[in-house]
């Protein structure tokens, strides 16, 4: 009985120690592409994973949980970043570019050719 309690306690503590957060994201669209920009402070290139599976774009950034000392005051807890986005058919899955700079991830997603605005020349007679 005690073992079970202990195990549960350990699980609870573990969950409290490690949280996962949604990175704050800006998303905007231009006629050619869609850009997603995410705040992921503490995430380095080596700890960042971006994958496309079917219609889902998943971004996961690992943050080292090392604390420099005893926390006296904390406005943010330590945790990994994780967010999933659904991709529509209008997006070219092979044309996704990612750049990580100073904790900000920028994903540029190209629109499929068929949905790009096309200029139609009007012949003048």
């Amino acid at each position: 009985m005690k073992d079970i309690e202990k195990k549960q306690q350990a699980q609870i503590t573990r969950r409290e120690e490690r949280s996962t957060f949604l990175p704050a994201t800006d998303i905007w669209e231009t006629p050619e592409e869609i850009t997603l920009r995410m705040d992921m402070p503490g995430v380095s290139k080596d700890n960042l994973e971006i994958k496309v599976e079917g219609d889902t774009l998943t971004v996961h950034g690992g943050v080292s949980g090392d604390q420099p000392g005893n926390a006296l005051y904390a406005e943010q807890r330590v945790g990994d970043f994780h967010r999933e986005f659904s991709l529509s058919d209008d997006i070219d899955r092979d044309k996704i570019n990612a750049a990580l700079n100073a904790g900000v991830l920028t994903l540029t997603v190209a629109k499929a050719e068929k949905v790009k605005p096309r200029k139609i020349q009007i012949a003048a007679n």
Binding site: S19, T20, F21, L22, P23, A24, T25, D26, I27, W28, E29, T30, T35, R37, M38, D39, M40, P41, G42, V43, S44, Q67, P68, G69, N70, A71, L72, Y73, A74, E75, Q76, G79, F81, N101, A102, G103, V104
Partner: protein, 145 residues
């Protein structure tokens, strides 16, 4: 959005923060890593034996543009996070705070401003401040009469 807020009454400021915290979570996705208005960038303070370490989550800024000043018992940080892309297309989501910020925190121990070191990596500003030499205990001799 202007991040600076200077209110003369601390309690009032606190109340607005609480309100901001409440309203920020409404409508936004659950678990979003953000801070209520006026508290960007988020700071954590740690006690590391002989020094105080402050970590600040401030991704996407040029560290040269951050104004940092440390006094014996306070730390002030100000700067601007610009939003260069603004106005270039149509926004679907805007969750990242942008604009000017100005924050001062009071340190619970005296530090030596001359020995402060700051570094910026992966969007986190880390400030290390050696604690001031503790005032040596002074013994007062009592004269016997």
């Amino acid at each position: 959005m202007l991040m600076t807020r200077r209110l003369p009454f601390w309690d009032m400021d606190r109340m607005f923060d609480e309100m901001g915290r409440m309203f920020d979570t409404f409508g936004g996705p659950l678990g979003l890593r953000s801070v209520p208005g006026g508290t960007f960038p988020a700071m954590n303070v740690y006690d590391a034996k002989d020094k105080l370490v402050v970590t600040v989550e401030i991704p996407g800024v040029d560290p040269a543009t951050i104004d940092l000043s440390v006094q014996e018992n306070s730390l002030t940080l100000s700067g601007k996070r610009s939003d260069t892309e603004n106005g270039k297309g149509r926004y679907y989501r805007k969750e990242r705070p942008a604009g000017e910020f100005h924050r001062t925190i009071t340190l619970n121990e005296k530090v030596d401003p001359a020995g402060v070191a700051a570094s910026y990596k992966d969007g986190i500003l880390r400030i290390e401040m050696p604690k001031a030499q503790a005032v040596k205990p002074r013994t007062i001799a009592i004269k016997a009469e």
